[in-house]
Structures are given as structure tokens and as C-alpha cells.
């Protein structure tokens, strides 16, 4: 796997196709388990582990599984790993197991895992799929932890279980607060993302619009090109502002 491919997969999983904030997948555990930052981390890491394992196995079996029964096959593979995680958590971290409640077995039908299996692991090599699982899972974990931290600070006056102050806005621990924070998180993330994306796109656009470098004079190509690129950039910015 080349570095560029790795970079694309990482960028896709963490930001561009962030399951929670961009694709709005896995909403149910997000709303229910983001009451505290630690819950978010626990859920996120459980999902990440299952995602990596199921992606690897599905990718290995992608030529064996008949197309007509692929969904049941995926579900069985995912359910196997969910069962393993459940048993391990029940044995070693019972507090986390209890706090996750019904949402742990529900990972079987979590649309993030099924979605990655369907759209990525069943079409790509094992290493790529493992990477995709890791970064999608980490994207999910980050989003869940972030929402959980905001809700914990505002709703319980604590962060990662550490007490900060006595002031509480109980609204944020309720489900209404979950929807509110989740909605705002999606809005802010997408606003920032599209802004950054716009800037990046206008830069590449400006670069592409440059006159082609003179082949006969390769020596002074670099300084000229960069200078022109800057000029083009500024003009692009100016036009963008005018349009606004």
C-alpha cells in the first residue's frame, strides 16, 4: 500500500467520511452513549476493534461470499466479533459493560460497520480494509468523545469523570440535549469542513488556471510559477469576496 493511498483512507475515515458528523451513521449509539466522555471512548474503541476485525475477515472472504447472501454473511461475521467483545468486556471491564447496556449487542446492526463492509471491505484488499476500519473507527471515537465531553461538562460539571464545578445544566444530560449538541456538532463540523475545502479547491483551481510553463526555459520555471500562483490566488480570493 502506497503512502498516498494510506493518506486518502485516513483522511476519508477521520474527516471526509466521518461516520458521525458527515454521514450521520450510527446515530442511535451516538445519542444514547454520549452522556459522558468515557462512555464515548469505550463505545468508540469497541466499534473500532469490531470494525477492523470484520473488515479484515470480510475482505479476506470477499471472493468467496456469494453476492446474493452477502448481507447475512456480513452480519454473521460482525456478530461473531461483537460476541467476543461482549464477553471480554463483561469479564474485564464490567462497569463499562453495564454502562453500555443494550447498545453493545446492538453494534451487530450498527450501520457504520455494515456500511464499511458493504462499500469498502468487500471491494478492497485486506491491508486497505484494515486501515479503513481503523480510521473510520477512530473518526467515530473522536466524534463520540467530543460530543460526550461537551455534554458531560455542561450537563454534569465534570470531564472524564473528574468533577469540575457544581453548576449543572441538566438539559444536556437528557435526550433533548443529546439531539441539540449532536445537531450543533454536525453544523459546526460541516461549516468548518466546507470552508477549508473551498479554500483548498480555489487554490488548486488557481494553480490549474496558470499558463503552462515554458519548456524552453526550465531554469526560471519554479520562482515564476510560484509567483504567478500567488497572484492567481489573490485574484481568486478577491473575486470570491466580491461574489459574497
Amino acid at each position: 500500500m502506497t503512502g498516498k493511498r494510506f493518506k486518502t483512507i485516513a483522511f476519508d475515515g477521520l474527516l471526509k467520511n466521518n461516520p458521525t458528523l458527515r454521514l450521520v451513521l450510527g446515530t442511535c449509539p451516538t445519542l444514547a452513549l454520549s452522556t459522558a466522555a468515557l462512555n464515548g471512548i469505550g463505545m468508540g474503541l469497541a466499534v473500532t476493534f469490531i470494525l477492523i476485525c470484520s473488515n479484515v475477515l470480510i475482505s479476506l472472504l470477499r471472493k468467496t461470499i456469494p453476492n446474493a447472501v452477502r448481507i447475512p454473511a456480513f452480519v454473521i461475521i460482525i456478530a461473531t466479533f461483537v460476541t467476543i467483545v461482549r464477553m471480554v468486556l463483561d469479564k474485564f471491564i464490567p462497569s463499562l459493560y453495564d454502562s453500555m447496556g443494550v447498545y453493545l449487542p446492538l453494534i451487530v446492526v450498527n450501520c457504520i460497520i455494515l456500511g464499511r463492509a458493504e462499500s469498502f471491505a468487500s471491494k478492497n484488499t485486506v491491508l486497505d480494509s484494515a486501515c479503513d476500519g481503523l480510521f473510520t473507527g477512530l473518526g467515530f471515537t473522536c466524534a463520540l468523545t467530543l460530543i460526550g465531553a461537551v455534554r458531560e461538562i455542561l450537563g454534569a460539571g465534570a470531564i472524564f469523570g473528574v468533577r469540575l464545578w457544581d453548576f449543572k445544566i441538566e438539559f444536556f444530560t437528557s435526550s433533548a440535549g443529546a439531539f441539540f449538541v449532536y445537531g450543533l456538532a454536525i453544523a459546526i463540523f460541516n461549516a468548518v469542513y466546507s470552508k477549508v475545502e473551498n479554500v483548498r479547491r480555489s487554490k488548486t483551481f488557481a494553480l490549474r488556471m496558470l499558463p503552462k510553463p515554458d519548456v524552453s526555459a526550465p531554469d526560471n520555471l519554479d520562482p515564476d510559477a510560484s509567483g504567478e500562483a500567488e497572484k492567481a490566488n489573490t485574484t481568486a480570493d478577491v473575486t470570491a469576496k466580491e461574489v459574497k
Binding site: F167, I169, E170, F171, F172, S174, A176, G177, F180
Partner: protein, 344 residues
């Protein structure tokens, strides 16, 4: 003809502005607000001032964040945020700490009104949602600590405890006379909801200024009372205490009649207010708490549905009866032509 103005319709515009209507609402709210301050003292005044100031400040800051010029903001300022702040403070108890009106007002303006596009575009009533926010967010503060007014007609002392409505719904009956309930003397409750007389005066002013129609609040209050009577096994003694307690008058006159969040047709409004009355009585009996704000919030969310099914009739268009008649005739005609076709 000296001047021909070329423009789109509408060509005739009313002289009423949002600002004027909101000013009327503020004037109508003043008696109840003053009575609240008289009954509950300085605490009530402070709560009202914090709430109004926070509402207006939030709107200004939000507009500044949108890079509007300060002068434009002041020019387009239409007093709706003052009304929101005032209404919000009036449905909070006077004993709340300062941050409750502050945060609720910020939530009401920023999240409920401005995020949806500002005045006229909000889906639910900001003041109601602010109160519900306060209720959910600061449950411990909101549920306990109702202060009965210091000018209590009963014993002249300040007492903290359940409101009349809560004790009534809990099956303990009510301990003040109906006149006290009507005047708000000796009643525990939110700042603006106890003095029904002042609220009625405000309502009559709004009706006289043609800001609201008298039928709708009356429908809400009467239907609520009647359903409460039905739920009390047709005990008509339950009628007056049920309509005179809690925030029913405040909600019916000032909150439910909000233009933005009520249906846009007369028939739709009848459905809306009857549903409000029924739901308030039923949910009050079921949950044993005051539900007026929750019910109005719920019905606000159903307004788009009502609007989708009950459309206002455009001026000059055939009414329901005429349309039905036309439909039947068209059916008959279709049948006749079919029969003719069959004969041929």
C-alpha cells in the same frame, strides 16, 4: 396621473408593522408584569430585567456575528426579542437564580429563533421553548421553591411550597378561594401567571387593538375547563379552579396566539386551540404537573401538519360547501356522459 409606480403585488399594504404589533403585546403584558412585581417583590423585577436584557443582547450579538452593521440592526429591530424576554420571565418562578433567565433567554433567542432565520421563521414559540428549556435544564431549581407572594391575603407571610395546581392535581384540593385565584393574591406560581385579572385586561386590550381574536383564547380556556370537568367525573365544581390555576391564561392569551407558530387559516386555528385545550386537561390529569408550556410546544410542532391539511381559502375562491357541490356535480356529469357512452 403624475406618477406611475411599477411594482409587483401586493399593491395595497397595511399600516401595521411587526414593531407596532409587538409594542401592543408589550403594553398588554405590562399589567401582569407589574402585578407580578407587586406580588413577588424585587426578585421578580430582577428576573424580568435579566431575561429581557439577555434576549435583546443575544439578538444583537447574533446579528453582529452575521456581519450586519450595528445601525442596520437597530433599524430592523422589531421588539420581538423584548416580547420573548418578557414572556419568558413571566413564566418563570421569581425565586430562580440569576443564571436561569439568562441562559433560557439566550437559548430561546439564539437556538430557537435566530438559528431558524429570525423573526417569523421560527418553528416553535421561543418564549415557550425557553421555559421548557429552563424546566428541563434546571429541574431541581424549577420544581421546588415556589414562593407564595409576600402580600399574601391569607397570613401575610412568605411560604414556600407546591403551587395550588400541583396540590390540586395531587388530590389535596385547593386552599385559596376562587377570588384569590382570580386576583392572584396569596397564590404561588410564576411571576406573570398568578394575576388572572391583569392577564384578562391585557387580553382585552389585544382584542380591542385587533392583535388577536377573542374566540381562540376563550376556546382554549373553556375546552380545557370542560375536559377537566369530564375527567373529574362530571363534577362541575372542578371547572373554575382548573381554568384559574397554573399558566393557562398566560399561555392561552399570549403564547398560543403567536402569529408565527399558529395555523394560518381560521378553521386550522379552531382545530389548534381545541386540541390545545383537550391536551392540556388530559396531560395535566395524567402527569400531575403543569403542562401548558409543553402542550403549546407540542402543538406548535403540529402546526405545519394542520397547515398542510387545512389551507386558507384565497380571497374570492369557492368555499368548502361550494367546492363539495361542484365535485358532486362533476361526478354526476361524468356518470351521465358515461351512461350516454354506454348507450351509444
Amino acid at each position: 396621473m403624475e406618477k406611475v409606480i411599477v411594482s409587483d403585488s401586493p399593491h395595497i399594504r397595511g399600516k401595521r408593522t411587526t414593531r407596532g404589533i409587538m409594542l401592543d403585546v408589550i403594553i398588554a403584558l405590562l399589567p401582569a408584569a407589574i402585578m407580578g412585581c407587586v406580588f413577588f417583590g424585587v426578585d421578580a423585577l430582577v428576573t424580568i430585567i435579566i431575561s429581557v436584557a439577555a434576549s435583546v443582547a443575544t439578538e444583537f450579538v447574533y446579528c453582529l456575528c452575521l456581519k450586519k452593521k450595528p445601525l442596520d440592526i437597530i433599524k430592523s429591530f422589531d421588539l420581538t426579542s423584548v416580547v420573548t424576554g418578557l414572556l419568558l420571565a413571566m413564566c418563570l418562578p421569581s425565586s430562580v437564580p440569576w443564571y436561569v433567565p439568562l441562559l433560557s433567554a439566550v437559548f430561546a433567542i439564539a437556538a430557537v429563533k435566530m438559528l431558524f432565520g429570525g423573526t417569523g421563521k421560527n418553528v416553535v414559540n421561543p418564549a415557550i421553548t425557553g421555559r421548557v428549556f429552563a424546566f428541563i435544564a434546571f429541574q431541581s431549581v424549577m420544581v421546588s421553591g415556589w414562593v407564595a407572594p409576600s402580600l399574601s391575603a391569607l397570613d401575610g407571610s412568605v411560604s414556600t411550597g407546591a403551587t395550588q395546581l400541583t396540590s390540586m392535581l395531587g388530590g389535596n384540593g385547593y386552599s385559596v378561594s376562587l377570588l384569590d385565584m382570580f386576583l392572584g393574591t396569596g397564590m404561588a406560581g410564576c411571576i406573570g401567571e398568578t394575576c388572572k385579572l391583569a392577564l384578562l385586561i391585557g387580553g382585552i386590550y389585544l382584542v380591542a387593538r385587533k392583535v388577536i381574536k377573542w374566540q381562540f383564547p376563550v376556546i382554549y380556556i373553556v375546552v380545557e375547563g370542560f375536559v377537566a370537568v369530564c375527567l373529574a367525573k362530571f363534577d362541575f365544581a372542578a371547572f373554575m379552579p382548573s381554568i384559574l390555576s397554573g399558566g393557562l391564561f398566560l399561555g392561552a392569551i399570549f403564547m398560543a396566539t403567536d402569529y408565527v407558530t399558529s395555523p394560518n387559516s381560521t378553521a386550522g386555528n379552531y382545530v389548534y386551540f381545541v386540541a390545545l385545550g383537550v391536551l392540556t386537561a388530559v396531560l395535566r390529569a395524567a402527569t400531575k404537573i403543569e403542562v401548558v408550556s409543553f402542550v403549546i410546544l407540542l402543538m406548535n410542532l403540529l402546526v405545519p401538519l394542520i397547515n398542510a391539511y387545512i389551507r386558507p381559502r384565497p380571497f374570492g375562491a369557492p368555499g368548502f360547501i361550494e367546492r363539495t357541490r361542484a365535485k358532486i356535480e362533476a361526478k354526476k356529469a361524468a356518470k351521465a356522459t358515461k351512461e350516454e357512452g354506454g348507450k351509444q
